[in-house]
Subunit: 228 residues, 2 copies
């Protein structure tokens, strides 16, 4: 199971899909930018249009490109992050998966909250308050607050200016909602309060309090999973 | 940039690819197991064979399935983990990426070394020594030791019995070798020594020493990147 990650032999469309990725990087294409048309890409990369089409399909299935009908091919907003990039769907015991995700969050997010308290600008803090309010509103309205919840935690990670960790938190948070049947509303009031405590500590530049508030927030989640 | 992760509208082959994943899970197919043939899957999922073929292609590009010519379609050894599941290729500043990866490792791996010291069985410890020796041999032979290095760190993560963290470490470690031009051989002797210190501490069940040894190992890496 602990296999080497060296790529196996690749087919032509896969190789061309790698070249298209290089093209995007070298032309500095941003999210939402349009790619050259099939014709031009085929000429540029010296392959047939059928191969370009296959390669584009691969990149669409990897969330790197998106096709807008009658309009062209664009760099996807989803930046190549898959729904389930870690292949967690194969873990059958979802209760164990929930605990494992929570444990990983406990390893990372208290440290990120501490960093956020040290680095947050006034603008960051304003954004955090807005994001925490958005979660609270959805909860008070009895609506699904998963997007808002993910957004708040990713915002906190983002203040670290570490792009890898921001992507990781986004993936881990999303996995929670992709795979775990979220427990009833028991934690809703606690969620509002502990989010507020986290943002408050970051706003006060109190690194230790921020770390502790995040840890408390996640430990409440953990005991919720264990009591299910 | 901090977009919601809710899936956009899906095409039929994508929906069928989801169903094939469910089929694999429900039939409890393991890595290397063979899938039913195109014909049977088409009948079972009530779609055309062309759609099945498209869906299989998607799953192949996601490293979930692999096609062995003249033999059939199998559950891939790569378990749906992509070469670059976090979409790190889009980060242009590779020096910054190297530091970000190192910072994430510093957040996770010392904790994992501590857990390993607490949980390792005699068999785990024997495996760790073997893995550390394999890295040392490659270094002494002047050969590329990336696979052996990744394997050792993933083994340590694996002792936590947390499948999420094991996958994360595998992804992070692989990214180091995918994206970062590894610095000259300056660190080779230090790598051998610090690996030995980590495994030694785990073998002695000394959690604090294991955590510190891993931290030292990673801090040496970090200063190497900064001095480049």
């Amino acid at each position: 199971m602990l296999k080497s990650v060296h790529p196996v032999q690749k087919r032509l469309p896969e190789l061309v899909s790698e070249q298209i990725k290089e093209l995007i990087a070298s032309k500095d294409l941003k999210i939402g930018d349009k790619l050259p048309n099939e014709f031009d890409m085929a000429e540029q990369l010296q392959v047939g249009r059928g191969t370009i089409r296959e390669a584009v399909k691969i990149l669409v299935s990897q969330n790197i490109l998106e096709i807008r009908r009658g309009c062209g091919t664009f760099v996807s907003e989803r930046k190549g992050i898959m729904d389930d990039p870690l292949g967690l769907w194969i873990i059958e015991d979802k209760q164990k998966l929930a605990l494992d995700l929570c444990q990983v969050r406990l390893m990372l997010e208290p440290q990120l909250a501490r960093l956020a308290a040290q680095n947050a600008t006034d603008e960051d803090i304003a954004q955090l308050w807005k994001a925490a309010k958005a979660v609270e509103e959805k909860i008070r309205e009895g609506k699904n607050h998963s997007d808002e919840d993910i957004y708040l935690h990713v915002l906190i990670a983002n203040i670290s200016h570490n792009e890898v960790v921001t992507k990781l938190i986004s993936v881990i948070q999303s996995a929670v909602y992709l795979f775990i049947k979220i427990t009833k509303s028991i934690l809703r009031e606690e969620t509002i309060q502990t989010h507020e405590a986290i943002v408050s500590a970051i706003a006060n530049k109190d690194a230790v309090a921020a770390e502790n508030a995040m840890r408390k927030h996640l430990l409440l989640n953990q005991s919720q999973i264990l009591n299910k």
